[in-house]
Structure formats: C-alpha cells, structure tokens
C-alpha cells in the first residue's frame, strides 16, 4: 500500500503503517537491512509501525524505482510478530544523492587519520551521557563541502544544491514495555529513544546502534562492525567484535566479550566482567560500590583511571605485560613456564571493591587525572 502526499518541497511516500495489539504477541522479530529506524515506547500496549520516505528533487521515475527496491513484510505466527524490511539503503535519517553528467571529484583529505593526543584526561560519566544523547547527521552543506562537479572540459565547480537528491527516512517503531524483542540488523542505523527494560536479543552487523538505558538480566547483544553507544547497560551479555566505537556511560552487572574493538566507559558499576582479545579500553571512573571488576585479556591495551569515589583493592597478574603508572614502569617478561605472575597490588585485600586484571601480552596504564599514552 503506497500513499503519496506533498509536504514542503518533497514528495512523501508511505511505506508501511500498521499497528498490532501486543496482548496476543509473545515476541517481536525485527529484521532490518539498509534501514534507519527510531524506536520509542508505546503507550497503548500496541506495536506501531510508521514508515514513510520523503523525496526531494527526485523524478517520478526515480521515486518509483526506489520504492520498487524496498521490500517490507509483516506476519504473525505462533504469537511472534515477524517484520522484515530491506532495500532503502538509508543509513541516516537524511541521505543525499548526486547525479552529474561528467562525475564529481573529492577535494578533501582521503588520508584523514584520527589524530592521537599523547595525554588523555579523565572524563566524567556526564560527559559520556552528553555525547551519547547528541544526534546529528551531516548537513547538506557539510556533505557537499569537499565535492566538486566536473564539466566536459575537466573544470571543477561547486555543486548546485538543486541537483542534490535528498531522501528523508521517517521510520518509527513503538514498542510496548513487556514484549520480548529480537533484532537482526545489517547495514542499518537503529536509534532507541527511550529506556528499554524488555528482554532484548540483538544481532547487528555493520550497524550503528544507539541506546538510552538497557536493563534486563537476560539480554544478549552481539555486535560486529559498526558502532555502539549507550547510556546505561545493566544485566546481560554483550559481544563486540571489530567495533571501532563502543561508548557507554555506565556498565553494571554485565559480561562483555570483546575482540579488535575500541571501548570507552564512563563508569564501571557493580559486577562487570570483560574478556578481550586485542582491544583498546578506557575506564574513566568507578561507582561508589563497584564491588568487583574482573578483566581477562590477551594483547589488550587497558587505560584505567583509579577509583575516586571509594577505597579499593587492585591486583594484577601478567605474562609478557607492561604496566605504566606515572613514572613507574612494571614489566613481566615471558616466563619459561608461561605462567602469569603477580604484577601490582594496591590497597587492602579485604576491601569489597576489587579490581582484578589478568593480562597476557598486554599494556596497562593507570592514572589519577590523566594518562600519557605517548609511551
């Protein structure tokens, strides 16, 4: 069913608009491929889907072609509502597309590596809450900044914004609070605008994920590539593989398995366990009663700011590992028996707030207010 209407300068096309009573549903199975979706809380115990696209500067034929590529279906079987959509290829709420006779050229820097600073300062949990809440895609001006249109003589000129096709995706799914949710996402962008207490099972590949608070002891999230941002994670197991950006304001009662990822945590709260291979970590703060933080890793780089809110006990064991703390360097070379040796002990062993790190082939840096990483 397609409904067309004119809104502003663009043409609005309705892709899918349906509501389902959650009383008859045990769970939701949502499958996204190349889609931008915003989730929020349903207030009437119904699951609501509202998916529209707004086209600007598209011809009728181009709109028809785009719509023909989008496949959306919903079925209910044995109390499971299964919803699938693919083909939009919109990874953001606003997507731009250019068509030129002789092509375009990029005038920016293709070699734009993220500059590393040598000194990193401790950041507050609030800092992470603020960045995780911010949401902004590229504006048209930013998008076109480094692009130039090439004419038939090879001359370059600025791109006329009238020649840019703009696709705005408005896809909202409203979720009732009790229902179990299973999400499979590929090449997508999912934004959860409210706290989620539902049981959540997520398999995401090359997808941008953004959450507020997720709380459920039975949650299972498996994320490969893409990015992950959340304010609070409480309960469940998380797996991050090759995720270049994991930013969480607070971790609590979670088991985390990571590999080849970059993880920044604003605050470690109660009972957090991490197992890793070759990731980089920044642990900025510990909550007042964090009880126990355990970490076991191989080829990891761990940057940890000492707890400030409570007394603590730290014990580290290492094999072929280096510790840095201000000007103090502790190293454990590889042993013949290939056993871990005790490297560092701080505080009273009886203290309930414990940090235990077992690390092989790793680098651990400790800091009070800042950590120097240039060494």
């Amino acid at each position: 069913m397609l409904i067309t209407s004119a809104m502003g300068f663009g043409q609005v096309k309705e892709i899918f608009n349906k509501s389902y009573d959650a009383k008859d549903l045990k769970s939701l199975n949502l499958q996204f491929n190349g889609t931008y979706v915003e989730f929020s809380l349903s207030e009437d115990d119904k699951v609501h889907f509202d998916y529209t696209l707004e086209f600007e500067n598209y011809s009728k034929k181009e709109i028809e072609h785009k719509l023909s590529e989008i496949k959306t279906e919903a079925t209910i079987k044995d109390g499971v509502l299964e919803f699938k959509t693919s083909g939009s290829e919109a990874k953001n709420d606003v997507s731009y597309s250019l068509e030129t006779l002789y092509g375009i050229e990029f005038e920016g820097d293709f070699i734009n590596f993220k500059e590393k600073s040598n000194r990193e300062f401790r950041k507050s949990k609030q800092y992470f809450l603020a960045i995780n809440n911010s949401s902004r895609g590229k504006s048209l001006k930013e998008y076109l900044k480094n692009l130039r249109e090439v004419d038939k003589n090879g001359n370059k000129k600025k791109i006329n914004t009238k020649n840019v096709k703009i696709l705005r995706t408005k896809f909202s799914i409203k979720l009732p609070p009790e229902i179990m949710i299973r999400v499979m996402a590929e090449n997508s962008n999912l934004v959860f605008k409210n706290d989620i207490n539902n049981q959540l099972v997520v398999n995401a590949r090359t997808t941008q994920l953004k959450f507020q608070s997720i709380q459920n002891p039975f949650n299972i999230l498996d994320v490969v590539n893409g990015s992950f941002r959340a304010n609070f994670l409480e309960g469940g197991t998380y797996k991050f593989t090759h995720v270049d950006e994991v930013q969480v304001a607070q971790l609590k009662k979670v088991d985390v398995d990571t590999e080849f990822s970059n993880i920044k945590v604003g605050e470690i709260a109660e009972k957090v366990r991490i197992v890793d291979f070759n990731s980089k970590f920044w642990f900025h703060n510990f909550s007042q009663n964090f009880r126990e933080f355990q970490m076991s890793s191989d080829y990891s780089e761990i940057n940890l700011f000492f707890p400030e809110k409570s007394e603590y006990f730290i014990e580290t064991y290492g094999y072929n590992t280096v510790h840095y703390w201000a000007k103090l360097i502790t190293e454990i070379p590889p042993s013949r028996k290939k056993e871990h040796s005790k490297m560092m002990v701080i505080g009273d062993k009886e203290n309930p707030n414990k940090i235990k790190i077992h690390i092989t082939n790793g680098i651990v840096r400790f800091g009070e207010d800042f950590i120097d990483i240039g060494k």
Partner: protein, 170 residues
C-alpha cells in the same frame, strides 16, 4: 623458526608511527600517481578507439561507445592502490616481528573479514559512485587495516622493551 637476527632489527627500525606530515606526503604522491594514471588511460582509450573502429568496419549496425571513467572512480582506484601497497608492507613488517602464530592467525582472519567487507562496499560504490558516504566507508576500511597493523607493531615493540623488574607491591 630460524631467522636472520639482522633482519629482525631492520624490521624494528622500520616500525614507525605515521609521520606528522603523512597526509601531505601521501597527497603529493597521489597527485603524482594521478598523472601516471592518465597516461595509462590514454593508451587504454587509444586501444578502445582502435577496437571500435575495427568493429565498425565489420558491421555498420554495431557500435561500441567508449566510456569515460568517472573522476571519483579514478580517485578511489588511486587511493586504493596506494593503501593496499602500504597495507602489504605493514603486514610483512608485522609478521617479521610477531613470534606468536595465534596472533598472526587472528590478524589474518581480521584482515580477511575487512577485505570481505570491502568487496561488499565496492559493489555499492559501483552502483553509486557519486555517493561520498560510500567512498568514506571504502577509505575507512583501508585505514582500519593499516591502523591495526601499525598499532599491533607498536604494541609488540613496547612489550619487547624488557626489563628485569618482575614485581612491584605498593
């Protein structure tokens, strides 16, 4: 595994982080390479025109138009070529200093996964070569490969700076 120890130290000496002016150097090299590319495309064009002329000679109804390569595709090809060469060099440097087969196997797998992703993004690029977001994904993929190889070498270099101190208790 036997290895000439001089090679080992040579590899370590070569292990550097990205120099501060790497962007400019790279772009300079890229521009120089673009000129070289133009020459090779000229020959390709001449060859294509010759083929078309021959084809027209056989049939008046058959005409194969020559297709201009888009500037963006040419740019991306040049960047890709340059990056892949650097990635290959860094891979050789990495396996020269890594004495952990498990680590090498994990990196091999990681790079293979990145290459598989690259092929998927390349398909998107073929269909939409004017989409700068797809181009950014391609470049980011190449940068990630290069960066993880440089990072692990830096990591190994730090671990190899051994000292006799075994335990500190504070």
């Amino acid at each position: 595994m036997q290895q000439d120890i001089r090679e080992f130290f040579k590899a370590e000496e070569e292990l550097k982080t990205l120099p501060e002016n790497h962007r400019k150097d790279f772009l300079d090299k890229l521009n120089a390479q673009k000129d070289t590319k133009k020459v090779s495309y000229l020959w390709l064009k001449i060859a294509a025109v010759a083929i078309v002329a021959l084809t027209v000679g056989f049939s008046l109804f058959y005409n194969q138009p020559t297709e201009e390569i888009s500037p963006m595709i040419a740019q991306v090809e040049a960047v890709e070529d340059k990056y892949l060469k650097e990635i290959n060099t860094e891979w050789e440097n990495f396996i020269a200093i890594a004495n952990d087969e498990v680590l090498i196997a994990r990196f091999e797998k990681r790079l293979k996964a990145l290459d598989d992703d690259y092929q998927i993004i390349s398909e998107q690029f073929k269909n939409d070569s004017n989409n700068i977001l797809v181009v950014e994904d391609l470049v980011e993929n190449l940068q990630t490969r290069l960066q993880i190889l440089k990072d692990i070498q830096e990591h190994i270099k730090i671990l190899n700076q051994k000292s006799e101190q075994n335990e500190k208790s504070i």
